[in-house]
């Protein structure tokens, strides 16, 4: 087992040039210079932002962990009275919400943020300022969530907040409202990061780095972001509807009263919630896929199968959500469909496990702490995955769902799986981020205490569940064995807490006095190891040539042949995208703005899809009150609809004229577009006022609620589009001197062309949504 930092990559032969010597000061691990604190608040650098995510995640991990320890203390003995029932319910709600939205998702964003640009040889993310924005939604969301404690009490309806328990009748404090707002804000941040990562991976890869050569961490993170942009908007739409219920007296989910449907909340929530667990798991799989090969000194076994199985999991993850609802009683046909899908999704996961084992097989294994966590991951995650299989068999679920057997299952996959992977990832990449190795001695103590603590806490919970103990109970009767096993679990939790404390101590101590790491202490092969530890602000002095999946391995093992014609060293990819080299395809040439906007359109499709589904669902079951046919004036709406559609045509004209450099004409078309958009908004406002005047409000019946929600959010999107178009209009109508900032650059392209085309895409999408809404709501009105 190697503990010494290996020197920079030794070239294989004299003809193969060494990587350029780096400036000496780049070797020393940088510590924050005085006055640099401000730079952390204003940074747009992906490495700093990644670090901020990780540090914030650690902070919230402590909060969520303390919540867990109090929960375990309360449950240590039967009939305990350490905390009141209501406090307990707030604790487990906050624990779950914190761990998922304030710890694991941010930590994974942190790792992704830090590593993805480095691993693809880029200088930064595609949109550094969007990156910073996305980070700052995290402290805001965390603050909103925790402010509830001071505003009447934290949310207490559980992290998935089933209705009608989460409706005002049964959750009367503002806790649930703060929960809703916090999660909405955090979701916006997640989607922003996802768009950024997708655009970055598609457009900023170093020459030679085809999609098929992506490091698996990058590939799995990339696939995860596609899940994010499709799943998080489902949650946000549902949260908006719940907030409308709570604050505007509507009845989307009130469970029978006013036509509301409690099961619909469950469907919407789990349609987000199941992809969410893969959003948590897939990046962890990516980390393992980097770590195990390095410490086995072999490439990942079956790269294509590991990559393909990731896509299979992503696709299947949208088809299994109702396995969280087997107990609802939706009927055997429905249950069986989801049971079959849930069993099936185990297969691609199993494929990964076998490939990881096969990677180790025949390798030369070095048991650094990172590798130990990765191996432990394999076993713990398989336990969690197998208990998941038992749940997929619906009748078994009918016995053990909502018991501690379930609590055991998801902690095995989330902690034994995802958290262990992140711990391993920290030991693996901390040297790159800080320039120092974490202590292996403390690492071993950390590891073994985690193994003992984690398994002690959660293994016994399998038994508690089968013994009949339901979850989310603040106490339990003194049934045989319940007290003893709960006590064991509590002791285990404290051991785990201590293990994690050691982890933090390791970080603190090693930051100060850890062994200097050098560029590539682990003899790894991906591009992040081809620069200093920590990397310079621009990431690379020179990006090595990429001809395969392991660029540094290839460099070290290159045959003694003359270097390739274009030169072995290529400058780091500039932000605008490097010229395409061998094996790179069309993907590299795509405009990053268009990629980002199409991604955003996909997320908005998901959001509006839920609202449209909701409208259709409720309007098929109206029981009296106003209907579309009785209350809407199709003719009037058609008139301002025509204006909206016309605005797409005029916008297209504006784009065309700007493409041909006819700035003045373009501005005129753009002005007409904005005016047409305003006409639409005024028309919609007029319609709303008319409805209010006739006594119709959001809460009148489920037609009016879903109508106002759907058209209201659409109107909001039109408004935002108009603001953006007006800004572009203003910028485009200013005359510019050649050579001044914002004037036509080398490409001869008008500086507003890319923004116009990008916002144009958004605007056309908003029109398409209206086409669908107008058809469903107005034209097919009953």
């Amino acid at each position: 087992m190697s503990t010494t930092a290996s020197p920079e990559l030794e070239p294989a032969g004299p003809e193969t040039p060494a990587l350029p010597a780096h400036a000496p000061e780049a070797h020393a691990p940088t510590t924050a210079a005085p006055g640099a604190l401000y730079s952390w608040f204003t940074t747009v650098d992906h490495k700093k932002i990644g670090t901020l995510y990780l540090l914030t995640a650690v902070l919230f991990f402590a909060v969520g962990g303390i919540e867990a320890l109090v929960i375990r203390l309360q449950l240590a003995r039967p009939n305990n009275t350490l905390v009141s029932p209501d406090t307990f319910n707030q604790l487990f709600t906050m624990h779950g919400t914190t761990m998922i939205f304030l710890v694991v998702m941010p930590a994974l964003s942190g790792f992704a943020n830090y590593l993805v640009p480095l691993m693809i040889g880029a200088r930064d993310m595609a949109f550094p300022r969007l990156n910073a924005f996305a980070y700052w939604t995290l402290p805001l969301g965390g603050f909103l969530l925790h402010f509830s404690v001071l505003a009447g009490g934290a949310p207490s309806a559980g992290w998935f907040s089933y209705a009608p328990l989460s409706e005002t009748a049964y959750s009367s404090t503002m806790g649930t409202d703060y929960w809703i707002l916090a999660v909405i804000v955090l979701g916006i941040g997640s989607v922003s990061t996802a768009l950024n990562i997708i655009a970055t991976v598609i457009t900023l890869r170093a020459p030679g780095l085809t999609m098929q050569r992506l490091p698996l961490f990058v590939w799995m993170t990339f696939v995860t972001q596609i899940l994010v942009i499709l799943a998080l908007p489902v949650l946000n739409a549902s949260l908006a509807m719940l907030l409308i219920d709570r604050q505007l007296d509507a009845h989307f989910f009130t469970g029978g009263t006013g036509g509301g449907n409690a099961v619909l909340w469950e469907h919407f929530f789990w349609a987000f919630g199941h992809p969410e667990v893969y959003i948590l798991a897939l990046p962890a799989f990516g980390m393992i896929s980097e770590i195990i090969p390095v410490y086995s000194r072999k490439p990942i076994f079956g790269y294509e199968f590991v990559a393909a199985s990731t896509v299979a999991i992503a696709i299947l993850s949208f088809g299994v959500w109702a396995h969280h609802m087997f107990a609802v009683g939706m009927g055997h046909t429905t249950d069986l469909f989801f049971a079959a899908g849930s069993m099936l999704i185990a297969v691609p996961t199993g494929v990964k496990v076998f490939n990881w084992v096969a990677t180790m097989w025949g390798g030369s294994l070095r048991f650094t702490t990172a590798m130990m966590f990765a191996v432990a991951f394999l076993l713990e995650f398989v336990v969690g995955g197998l208990s998941g299989i038992t749940f997929a068999a619906a009748p078994i679920d009918w016995q053990v769902t909502d018991t501690y057997y379930l609590v055991a299952h998801f902690h095995y996959v989330a902690v034994g799986g995802v958290a262990f992977a992140m711990l391993g990832a920290t030991y693996h990449w901390f040297p790159k981020m800080t320039g120092r190795l974490l202590s292996e001695k403390l690492g071993r103590a950390n590891f073994w205490l985690m193994i003992v603590g984690f398994n002690m806490t959660f293994f016994v919970q399998h038994f508690l569940g089968i013994m009949g103990m339901p979850r989310r109970v603040f106490t339990y009767p003194d049934l045989p064995g319940w007290g003893a096993l709960n006590l064991v679990s509590t002791v285990g939790a404290f051991i785990m807490g201590f293990a994690l404390l050691l982890f933090l101590v390791n970080i603190a101590v090693s930051l100060r006095s850890g062994q200097v790491a050098g560029d590539n202490p682990w003899d790894a092969w991906t591009l992040e190891w081809a620069t200093t530890s920590p990397p310079p602000e621009h990431n690379f002095f020179e990006v090595p040539p990429v001809h395969g999946r392991r660029p540094l391995y290839d460099l070290a093992h290159a045959p003694a042949a003359p270097p390739p014609a274009e030169g072995p060293l290529v400058p780091a990819a500039a932000e605008g995208g490097a010229p395409a080299a061998e094996h790179t395809g069309r993907l590299d040439k795509l405009d990053k703005f268009r990629v980002m906007m199409w991604g955003f359109i996909a997320s908005e499709t998901s959001f509006f899809g839920v609202l449209i589904l909701s409208f259709g669902f409720y309007n098929a079951r109206l029981e009296g009150g106003p209907t579309a046919a009785s209350s809407l004036d199709v003719g009037k709406t058609a008139a301002f609809t025509v204006c909206l559609f016309a605005s797409s045509l005029t916008l297209h004209q504006a784009e065309k004229h700007l493409e041909h450099g006819k700035g003045a004409a373009s501005v005129r078309w753009l002005l007409v577009t904005v005016i047409l958009g305003l006409v639409f908004l005024v028309g919609q406002a007029h319609e709303y006022i008319g409805l209010f005047d006739s006594g119709i409000s959001v809460a009148t019946n489920l037609f009016t609620t879903s109508f106002f929600t759907l058209t209201g959010f659409h109107g909001l999107h039109v408004t935002i589009g108009l603001v953006a178009l007006t800004i572009i209009l203003g910028l485009a109508s200013q005359r510019r001197q050649p050579g001044s900032p914002g004037s036509k650059g080398d490409t001869g392209e008008h500086p507003q062309l890319v923004p116009l085309k990008t916002i144009g895409l958004y605007w056309h999408f908003v029109d398409v949504v209206w086409l669908v809404v107008f058809t469903i709501v107005y034209l097919r009105a009953k």
Partner: protein, 317 residues
């Protein structure tokens, strides 16, 4: 609550109905399959850890990148396993959860945090279901407020009790005894104390119980008990609780449990207390202290008033 004697340790495996047995069998089969898979993976990982430890840092292992045939094999075999388990699942779903094919024998309504139990025969009780051994009983489930879940593991599956979404479950017990159940969907502050009991009796005993439950409570003859009966109305208890008595009409029957035969029940407060005089007295004095958040307010009952009420309730057999 004090657990009954001989309470099951692993209720889903200590089954007393055909439905629960079907699930237990599937559980056992699936655990065996999963256990084998776990053993195989553990063995493989352990073997790698031991056998392939780095011995010579200078020697690079063979850089095997993959093996397509192996990939196909370890994809196909799990698919087959999964297909087999799905078949077993489908079969067990049918045998463990038969459809409702007649009028329900019992309607159970979930409330925060107690179970209302209404028999087709007219009997009404709370938190305790009696049934005859060896006969299938069809239970219809509704919720009066939030989502609950009805779960008696020794007798069968759990089923959500969702407002606006009626469900059903079959109960069947092959042996006399008391089977523990509980609410299994988080339903608010006192979800932990929304327990229930299923008491399976011989058909004769059940018939007698059912007959008795349908009868109103006798008017109290003892003067202390009579005082208690008057207090029951004066302290507004009758606003939420029904006690069916001759000559008394029930107006608001079910905000709280029916108390007509409360003294016969095993527990109070849906399992938070054993049902005896002392506990009943404590409960009447301070329900919020015992089950905080429950919908029964703590009124200012003097000790004497509480005693009188207890005396009255003890006649409600």
């Amino acid at each position: 609550m004090t657990p009954p004697r001989g309470v099951a340790v692993l209720p889903p495996f200590e089954t007393h109905s055909a439905q629960a047995r079907a699930i237990a069998d599937l559980f056992t089969q699936t655990l065996i399959v999963c256990g084998i898979i776990l053993l195989v993976v553990t063995f493989l990982v352990t073997y790698c850890v031991v056998r392939f430890r780095e011995k010579d840092p200078k020697k690079e292992p063979v850089q095997t990148a993959g093996h397509t045939r192996l990939e196909i094999t370890w994809t196909l075999i799990p698919v087959l396993i999964v297909a087999g388990l799905t078949l077993l699942t489908a079969r067990t779903m049918a045998s463990s959860d038969p459809p409702a094919d007649r009028e329900p024998d019992i309607t159970v309504i979930g409330h925060q945090w107690w179970w209302e139990v209404r028999y087709r025969s007219g009997a009404v009780t709370a938190n305790e279901i009696h049934m005859p051994v060896g006969r299938d009983v069809l239970v219809a489930l509704e919720s009066a407020d939030v989502i609950h879940d009805f779960w008696v593991p020794q007798l069968g599956r759990k089923i959500d009790v969702t407002p606006g979404y009626p469900t059903h479950v079959w109960l069947e017990a092959d042996a006399a005894g008391t089977y523990l159940g509980t609410c299994a969907e988080f339903c608010g502050a006192q979800h932990a104390w929304m327990r229930l009991l299923v008491v399976a009796q011989s058909p004769e005993e059940f018939a007698a119980w059912d007959q008795h439950e349908r009868e109103p409570a006798p008017n109290p003859t003892d003067p202390e008990a009579a005082k208690g009966a008057r207090l029951f109305v004066d302290m507004t208890c009758a606003q939420c609780h029904a006690i069916r008595r001759p000559g008394v009409t029930i107006t608001q029957p079910n905000s709280g449990p029916d108390l007509t035969h409360v003294a016969e029940r095993t527990t109070l407060g849906a399992g938070v207390l054993d049902n005896d005089e002392k506990n009943l007295w404590r409960w009447l004095k301070d329900p919020q202290g015992i089950k905080p958040g429950s919908h029964m307010p703590s009124v200012q009952l003097s000790d004497k008033k509480a005693t009188d009420l207890v005396t009255y309730f003890e006649t409600l057999r």
